[in-house]
Amino acid sequence: MAPSTVREEAILEDVQDFTHAILAFVDDEGYPLNVATSFETDPSSGAIRLKPPKVGPQPREGAEVNVTFSHIRPYPGVGYDQRRYVSLWGAVRRDGGWLVVMPERSHGWDEDRLHFFELCERSVPVGHEYMRKLSRERGEEVKPQLGLGWLIFLATRVPFLTATIVPILLGGMVARSHGVSNWWLWLLCLIGGAAIHLGLNVLNDVSDTTSGADQANVNPTMFSGGSRMIQYGLVSLNAMRVASFALYAIGIGIGLFLVATRGIELLWIGMAGVFLSVAYTAPPFRLVYRGLGEICVALGFGPIMVLGTYFVITQELAWEPFYASLPVAILIMLVLYVNQIPDRPSDARASKNTIVVRLSREKIIAGYDLSMIATYLLIAIGALTIMPAWTLLGLLTIPLALKVHKGLSSHYEHPYELMAAMGTNIMVHLATGLLLSVGYLIDIILT
């Protein structure tokens, strides 16, 4: 059954503000009959007192009746909100001019107490049970459907590819500013990096399903809690394993081709990238479960991708692409850091001891602020020393970062309200990374 938000110990308080009650009972012909009536609560006895409605048949003395209280607020042109209802059951008896019901059990939902998304998430087992029964009745599997394109898009979490596009673009731009460009090689870097990234996303779902972290998470958002494809019965665990393997195979294949054609140095960079990607979530390392996920992500989507791309194009290693990758590394680390905030109760239950599980709210927000300050200091110092001055454009995202800080401070404990801040935080990474690349591009054009 879907979870109830009714406070059993304070049920009279929960119902007293409703405008009317709906009495439901079984009539003499065996049909249910429900009808509105006025009511009052009796705190001294804990009973609900109902005016007997005029509807012909009346409930039998001692019969179990159902009393429901329901409210919505119409929202013209949209639908409605303020959904809440309380339903209770008890034996009915007559007392003077009243029908008296002593609540024995109850059920209900108040969207102010339990967000609709969480209600749906907690009800997923009910949906699966219904489809299992239908499958048995029909002798064929009944399961939820989604088009293949959507399945691939959602299972691999394609929108997160910005994390790969930003560093690979930056690596290409730094190389171009050093007078070397080869956009075919750059494209191969992008495809290989994207394949590894998507493989990691899928592997992470496999790992979080195996550990139970995703099942325990009843507050997934579009930025956190995994793709849910396995939990919703849309893709099997095995299919996800195969998809992850295939994506890694594509990424590693492209990497080996580039090692063979561009230089052995890339092998060490690539091996570090693949190792971090797999060890991030898969046993025995499971680095994200040990609070090291942020470091993995920072290294993988920062120096490894920027420097790797730079090397593929120039066949050299240099300090500038490494330095330029540091702000991007911190920002992508912060994407993971913030996106894990709503997941921390379920992560903790699955022993996924991420940094946000380990530290207090105040420390996490302070950590965000300090990381942001470090990011913008790196950009400012870099623009005055090793990077083109135009990369100061990266500082334009400071107002967005302040918005994220405000969102974290206001909605830390509220997953769905926090979604806007999570989205803005992703924008900070994307926009800052792109502005750094734009800074390099302007410098290339001007010089």
Binding site: Y31, L33, Y80, Q145
Partner: protein, 161 residues
């Protein structure tokens, strides 16, 4: 063909919420707030598989009762209340698309945001796997001023038909 008095039809068409009472496996009444939809002959309600207990109850016992009681959720002048007893069946042959033809246009009329949300069904795939509850009215009670402390007018649609 219309089987309910016009006063109840107007109420069904205007109400954003009704209460559906079904009988559980032990014969006890269980009530669910749902949007009532009406095609001029039968009452339709619908449910995601996520909240499918009511569907199982109806499959076990098709006898149901629908009441429209809330003046806030049913903006109609003059306000009135009605209860309709009937026989229900669950239509769940095609959970993915089966409900769309019958129910979606009527649903959008009452809850326009659904037109936008249904295009984003990938975001909540199980919510959009849905069954239709089709109710054939059997007996209806109408309280013209919404006062259920006075006797209702009683209609028996099958006899009218």
């Amino acid at each position: 063909m219309s089987t309910l008095p016009v006063e109840i039809e107007e109420l069904l068409n205007s109400a954003l919420a009704a209460e559906l009472t079904v009988l559980d496996a032990k014969g006890r009444p269980v009530t669910y707030p749902l949007i009532p939809l009406y095609d001029g002959e039968k009452i339709y309600m619908h449910s995601s598989v996520l909240f499918s207990r009511k569907l199982e109850h109806i499959k076990g016992n098709p006898r149901v009762s629908v009441t429209i009681t809330d003046p806030i959720a049913a903006r109609i002048e003059p306000f009135r209340r009605a209860t309709i007893q009937g026989d229900a069946r669950v239509i769940d042959d095609d959970l993915h698309h089966g409900w769309e033809e019958k129910v979606l246009p009527l649903w959008i009329e009452k809850e326009p945001i659904i037109k936008k949300l249904v295009k984003q069904r990938f975001a909540m795939p199980l919510f959009w796997e849905r069954a239709v509850i089709e109710i054939v009215p059997r007996r209806a009670f109408l309280w013209r001023e919404g006062r259920t402390d006075i006797d209702p007018e009683v209609f028996e649609p099958e006899k009218v038909a």
